[in-house]
Structure formats: C-alpha cells, structure tokens
C-alpha cells in the first residue's frame, strides 16, 4: 500500500462530489421535506382555526337560539295580551250591540203596544157605536135597522 497522487485525485473528486450533492442533490430533498413540514404546519393551523371557528359558531348559535327563545316568549305574551284585549273589545262590542238590539226591540214593542192600543181603541169605539146603534135601533125600529144589524153581525 503506497500513498501517491491517487489520493489527491480522490480528494479532489470527493470535494467535487460533495459540492455536487450540496448543489443538486440536497436542495430538492430539503425542499420536499420543507414543503411537507409546511403542509403539516398549515394543516394543523387550519385545523386549529376550524376548531376555533366551530367554537365561535357554537357560541353564536347558542346566543341566537337564546335570543329566538326570548323573542318567541315575548311574541307569545304579546299575543296573549292582544287576544285578551280582542276578547274584551268583543265583549264590550257585543254588550253594546245587545243593548242596542234590546233598546230597538223595546221601542218596537212599545210602538206595537201603542198601535194595538190605538186599534183596540178604534174598535172599542166602533163596537160601542154599534152597540149604541143596536140599542137605538131596537128602541126605534128593529125592522128599520135590520140592515144595520146585519151589517153589525157581519162586522163581528
């Protein structure tokens, strides 16, 4: 085993080879690893962000739900109030209407009574007249007032 210029040549060659690897072999590998690392980091960050977003969304949806419930409660209360109001109004209205109807009916009845009384009065006077006539007829001449009597009978 003798040391000669071969060793020098090999050293130069090795230096060149290392340079070549540093220049052309190493960077693509490092780039691939770097990209992989970046992808993972991005993925993890995205997952973290998504988780955070999810939390926010959950919180927000709970809030909205709560608000909606409140609003619904308000609406129900309002509705109930309105309903009772309507009922009250309707009652008042109905009472008014009823009173009006009753007043009208009473007035009509009174009018009817009045008319009937009027009629009765005329009829009573007619009967009285007829009765008086009859009485007078018989006193004077039954035969002469026969047609009058007949008329009376027919009238009755």
């Amino acid at each position: 085993m003798n040391i000669n210029a071969t060793l020098l040549a090999q050293t130069i060659m090795f230096a060149l080879f290392v340079w070549f690897c540093m220049k052309f072999v190493w960077p693509p590998i490092v780039a691939a690893l770097e990209q992989r690392k970046k992808q993972i980091a991005d993925g993890l960050a995205d997952a973290e962000r998504a988780k955070h977003d999810l939390e926010l969304a959950a919180k927000r949806s709970a809030e909205i739900l709560r608000e909606a419930k409140e609003k619904a409660g308000e609406i129900v209360i309002h509705g109930e109030k309105r309903a009772s109001e309507i009922i009250e109004e309707a009652k008042v209205q109905a009472k008014l209407e009823g009173d009006r109807l009753i007043t009208g009916a009473k007035a009509e009845i009174e009018q009817e009574v009045f008319r009937a009384r009027e009629q009765l009065r005329t009829q009573v006077s007619a009967i009285a007249l007829a009765g008086a006539g009859k009485i007078l007829g018989r006193e004077i001449d039954a035969k002469a007032h026969n047609d009058l009597l007949d008329k009376l009978v027919a009238e009755i």
Partner: protein
Amino acid sequence: MSSEAHTSADYIKHHLQNLTYGQLPDGTWGVAHSAEQAKAMGFWALNLDTFIMSLLLGAAFMLMFRSVAKSITAGTPGGLQNFCEWAIEFIDSSVRGSFSAKNNMVAPLALTIFFWVFSMNLMDLLPIDYVPLLMSALGVPFFKIVPSTDPNATFGMAIGVFILVLYYSVKMKGLGGFVGELTLQPFGKWGMPVNLLLEGVNLIAKPISLALRLFGNMYAGEMIFILIALMGGAWAGASLGSATLYGSQILLSLGWAIFHILIVTLQAFIFMTLTVVYMDMAHQEHH
C-alpha cells in the same frame, strides 16, 4: 511494464480483500494478512470489516429512528422527525402497493431492509482509498468499507428473508398446503417430480436472486471505482498523457459517484420491494 501490472493487480486485490479473522496456518487465531491466508481459513472465519460496518450502520439507523421515536410529537415535525416520517410514509405506501395480505411485521421489515442496505451501499460513495489507507496506518491490513460488496452480507440478509418466507408460507397455508404448492402444480399430481423440480428452483431462486443482485451491482460498482482509481496510479512523470489520465480519473470517478447515488438508492429499494413481494407470495394462496 510488468511491475506496474503487478502493482495494479495488487491494488485491485487489496481493495477486494476482506479483513478476515480465523484460524491461521500456524494454528493460532487471528487476522489474515494475505488473501491466501484468508482463503486457507475455510468456512469458519469472520469478515470483520463487513461485520463491523454493517453492525455500525444498522446501529446508526436504529439510533436515529429511535431518537426520533422517543421525542416524537403530534405537532409540526421538525428536522429529523420530518425526514423519518417522510421515509416511513414512503416505505408504508410502497408496502401497501405490493403487499396485499395482513401482517404487521412486513412494513417495519421493509423499512429496516431499505435503510440498512441503503446505508451499506452508501459507503460506496466514500473515496475508495480513504478508509483502507487510514486502516493500514493503524496497522490493519485490509478493510472493505462497503458490506454489500461482500456476498456474505447479502446472502445473510437474503437467507434471513428466505427463512421468513418459508415460515409464513407454512403458517399461512399449513405444511400440507405449502408442500402441495411445491409438488402439485403446474402439472397435477402425476407430474410430481417435475413439479417439485420447477417449484423448487422457483423457491431457491428467491434468496439467490435477492443476494446476487445486490452483491453483483455493488461489487461491479466498486470494481469500476477501483479501475478508475488505477488511472491516476498510472502517473508516469509530467507528460500530457499522465495529466490527461489524472484529470479523467477525477472526472470519471465523479461521474460514476453521481451515477452511484441512483444505484445505491435503487438497489436498496429493489431489495426491499423484492422482499415485500416474496413475503406477499408467501401469504398468497395461489392456484
């Protein structure tokens, strides 16, 4: 001329010789100082360099992944963790692509094989004289730094895979099913000897192809590095020819090293994929 040829041959031989520990001709145990001594040790010898390097590289792989596994976070991965996750995703997806049965052991097996073979192959990119020179300065006669150029290492791994293939073949199909698969197809029960021959070759070819492919590729690559390095050794004074040789040595070995980035990764990937495919075949009930 002849002396130069002699030194060239020596140079090549020296680079292809493992550091072998075994029984020396004089009966004592120690490290072989020549190829002949190493050969004379027979089967019961250890290639210390292969052993040490593969162990070190395997340990480095395990320590790296273990340290990441201990400090792993679910958040954005940084640096080494990012790299390891990337590697595991890659292995996992390619295992999913070629392994259809269910076995929790296959993906870790594939990961280990890929990184172990990859790191062993990667040693090929170090200048070939560095470590042997350092070792000879330390008094170590030989040191082959690339374990996957030693067939012992590649066959060791391939046999490990083969044992797993056999184990899962028997476990999944039952001993009868496995033997049936070896003997009853493709020609039915009357063609049993032919079936056994065909399927036996098919079975044995798995570990052999696995081991020889890796070994062949890495050994050939190493050989070419050595031959290129020899060009500079042909330096014979400040002539134009020598200077050209010297310059072309640098350029050629640089080119070959750059090309080897691909080979190193590809061979590791092929070893891993074939292991996964063989494991998948062991789990499949075909025919």
